[in-house]
């Protein structure tokens, strides 16, 4: 294993992670809910349940984050190398997969593991394992 020390950013990663944790903590303690992005967005499709307000508010906060960031600082590099076709397929898989799997990196990976939920631990191991394997296949087997 070769560690890329040049791009390794331990302090901003740890601080950013803790800020994500604080957001999840606020949402659990104040709103009584899990800050799971796929669940929050997925719930927008169930118009009849009448809990649109907080879902739209949370999503608006997330979408506004880069705009608020830019009031104080220029944005760091946000680089997408994947082509449009593959991005569309990946987005489709992420959309269907996170709904069937009841969560994503935030709901299972952060909140679920924090709650020591066996379901979330399994889900996180599966999507991280599959993520590692997929990148291996894409980069080192097919060389895309």
């Amino acid at each position: 294993m070769l560690i890329d020390w040049i791009h390794f950013t331990p302090w901003s990663a740890l601080a950013g992670g803790m800020i994500i944790g604080i957001a999840a903590a606020l949402f659990a303690l104040l709103n009584g809910r899990i800050a799971g992005i796929s669940g929050i967005v997925g719930g927008l499709f169930k118009v009849q349940t009448g809990d649109m307000g907080w879902r739209i508010a949370f999503v608006a906060g997330l979408v506004a984050a880069p705009l608020v960031w830019q009031l104080f600082h220029s944005l760091p590099t946000l680089q997408i190398d994947t082509g449009y076709g593959m991005l569309a397929l990946a987005g489709l898989a992420v959309g269907i997969g996170t709904r069937y799997g009841s969560g994503c990196t935030s709901g299972h990976g952060v909140c679920g593991i924090s709650r020591m939920s066996p379901r979330s631990i399994v889900a996180t191991l599966v999507f991280m394992g599959t993520g590692f394997i997929t990148v291996y296949l894409v980069r080192h087997m097919f060389g895309i």
């Binding site: 907080w54 906060g61 997969g97 394992g129 599959t130």
Partner: protein
């Protein structure tokens, strides 16, 4: 009030994603590429978030109502089933191809990146397909308990 705190939580979450490097798909893919030049940063993102989250959920788990007086909606499902595993598998493949998961996707939408727009549109389409399949199924048989 609940909508204001939801807006703030979403905003803080997004700022955390940007600072952590999670909103940069190239960095996420560098983390997932253990056979290449591996960037372990994102393990620390998870570690930092879980460290704070564990304390918060230990408190939240003992409460019947939130500090705003709202009912607690914490998941109760315990069954590890095929849906959980296969869904997470499909998510992992998509995440591995693009390096984007749902939170960062919405941040990239806010940046106005055209690739971010395409990803989010496809993701919403995928979620819509899930809803349609679920609804067509619930017509045939009574609705199963909600999983989270």
């Amino acid at each position: 009030m609940a909508n204001i705190t939801a807006l703030l939580a979403g905003l803080i979450f997004g700022l955390g994603l940007i600072l952590a490097g999670m909103a940069n798909p190239a960095k996420v893919l560098a983390f997932l590429d253990i056979a290449g030049a591996w960037d372990p940063s994102l393990a620390l993102v998870m570690g930092g978030a879980i460290a704070v989250g564990s304390i918060a959920f230990a408190v939240a788990g003992r409460r019947n109502r939130s500090y705003l007086g709202l009912p607690m909606h914490l998941p109760t499902a315990r069954v590890i089933d095929k849906r959980l595993v296969l869904g997470s598998l499909a998510f992992g493949v998509g995440w591995g191809v693009a390096g984007i998961c749902p939170g960062p996707a919405l941040v990239l939408l806010g940046v106005g990146s055209s690739k971010g727009v395409v990803f989010v549109a496809a993701m919403l389409l995928g979620m819509g397909v899930f809803e349609i399949l679920e609804r067509s199924k619930s017509v045939d048989r009574p609705k199963m308990g909600r999983h989270v």
